[in-house]
């Protein structure tokens, strides 16, 4: 019996991929992200890390692009290109880790509040709405200010402030699934909470959560860079901390565009890729949006 079921699942996956592939932006985004992830994993093998240390840097301060330094140097004489390539590691790690935290919390809160209803739901939604309207960046910055500074605090601060949107989305989707008669039928057959959530709610909510996740990654990467710009970052090299140093070292007044552009463009490309992939997935997976585009 299970063989036809798997065949079906595979056919469904192939179908999603076929529709997804028709969306050129989403396809470009997927390719770019895949390449960047692969590169970030292999970076320690490809990049000479001495070029990242201030003491072993060889160039002059804020040198414009040249044959030796394609994208010029920073204020300590390090290659901007090297820094940008290396910075992908932390930016992506923070983006993914914060997203994981945020999506897990959000999904849990969303499903629980929609499924059980009553006072649990009221309390959870009250908290969600509270965090939803708060200026997330300000709250994250405040958290960073009172906690010891490290990359993990950054992840925590972003994760803790970005889950409410996911919770809202998951709750809405769960409510719409739970209002379908087949849930009533399942209960009438004798299915309990675990059965209804496991067999009916989660399978239909998770695809959307997945689409939403890619959007959250983009948001987290922007949040990381903004926090870094406000001086709230660990000692690691990330795109955000590069931009912060560029700003602090007077690269703007010096007109050192080569120091400002590469990390910023990297952020835009990555976030745009995640956004395109997320929107592409949403159109394919969300039945309500079918036919849009």
């Amino acid at each position: 019996m299970s063989a036809p079921v798997w065949q079906r699942r595979r056919a469904a996956a192939v179908d999603v991929w076929r529709q997804f592939r028709a969306n050129r932006g989403a396809l470009f985004g997927t390719a770019f992200i895949a390449l960047l992830v692969l590169f970030s994993l292999l970076a320690p093998l490809l990049i000479d890390q001495r070029g990242l240390e201030v003491v072993t840097a060889t160039g002059g301060s804020l040198e414009p692009p040249s044959g030796e330094y394609w994208l010029g140097t920073d204020e300590s004489g390090r290659s901007v290109m090297l820094l940008t390539l290396w910075g992908a590691r932390v930016s992506l790690l923070v983006g993914f880790a914060a997203t994981l935290l945020s999506v897990v919390v959000g999904t849990l809160v969303g499903v629980v509040s929609a499924h059980f209803g009553g006072w649990i739901s009221a309390v959870l939604m009250r908290i969600t709405d509270f965090f939803l309207v708060l200026p997330a960046l300000v709250l994250a910055a405040v958290l960073m200010a009172v906690l010891p500074t490290s990359m993990w605090t950054v992840i925590m601060a972003i994760g803790v402030t970005s889950w409410p949107t996911t919770a809202r989305l998951v709750r809405a989707q769960t409510l719409s699934v739970e209002s379908r008669p087949y849930i009533e039928r399942s209960k009438a057959l004798g299915g309990g909470h675990a059965h209804v959530i496991g067999k009916h709610v989660l399978p239909s909510v998770l695809p959307l959560v997945f689409a939403n996740t890619t959007l959250v990654v983009g948001g987290s990467i922007i949040a990381e860079s903004t926090l870094a710009f406000l001086g709230m970052s660990g000692p690691e090299i990330s795109w955000g901390s590069m931009l912060d140093r560029a700003n602090q070292s007077g690269a703007v007044t010096a007109g050192a565009w080569w120091y400002l552009l590469p990390p910023g463009i990297a952020i835009v490309l990555v976030v745009l890729s995640f956004t395109l992939v997320g929107r592409g997935l949403e159109t394919v997976l969300n039945p309500r949006l079918k036919g849009e585009r």
Binding site: F130, V142, V252, V271, T275
Partner: protein
Amino acid sequence: MTTSPTEQHATDPDERRDGTSATRYVAGKVGGALVSLVFVVALGFFLFRMIPGDPLVTMTRERPTDPEQLAHLRERLGLDRPVWQQFLDYVAGLLQGDFGTSYMYRRPVGDMIAERVWPTVLLVGTATVLAVLLGLWLGVRAAWRRGGTFDRTQTGIALALWSMPQFWLGLLLLIATQGVFPSRGMTSVDPPDGFAAQALDVAWHLTLPCLTLLLVIYAQYMLVMRSSLLEEMGADYLRTARAKGLRDDLVRRRHAVPNALLPTMTLIFLQFGMVVSGTVTVEAVFSWPGLGLLTYESLRGPDLPVLQGVFVILAGSVIVMNLLADLLYRVVDPRVRAS
């Protein structure tokens, strides 16, 4: 013809209870906002006093302080008393406008906030109004001709802007327009005479910060308006409107847009927190002397009493804005009045 029993059942109670439900609605929303405000104050208090360990250590981080000074500080801040009492003192202080004393400037935080409010209101107000107008207009046009050239380019631009860190956009604008617009502050060092000239001077300084804030937030408004109009496009009442012989633009203006505008409005107000976050970075980039810059300075300090005060004020204002939105929504959307 007599009306059937079911029909009476469906309408009568509605008409009777309209008055009482209005008060219930307003009371509910105001009560909810008050609870949120208490949350914010509690969060503001406990974040700064409770995590992690001794608040004095946090406060004096990176500042050598001898034991005698510490003891003095402890007593002056009331840290030797139980936490709940400290909280009550804090709330009592807030109610009298006492936000504590700045670490760096040795000035009352309340005064510092008060003088920074209006520049922020000016910046945020201008940018929001322009962003709403621009975003809604572009969103409607893009959705109505979905998939067309206008839609594709505008959606593309909006997505690109949405993917940009705001401060970076500000820095780019600064570099690109080097020297054309003033790079910092709200007035020239040597302000001109006369009200009109001074207003022009401020407007001149406002241009870049306002543009930066505007660019990122209009993009969101546009995307929201576009998708909520797209959702209305298949609605049956639009077919009714067409069947009546209405021109396409009248169908859009009279029927589709008013319906799509309502969910958009909610989202715009819900995202007000995002605008506030954006203000912090924009003011930091352009040294605009508002609450955002004050936040930035207190983060850099760190000047925790100032940060605490700014946090409570910014979060509180977002909650008040949302309350206003809820109340306004009831006036605008007839359906909310009933449910």
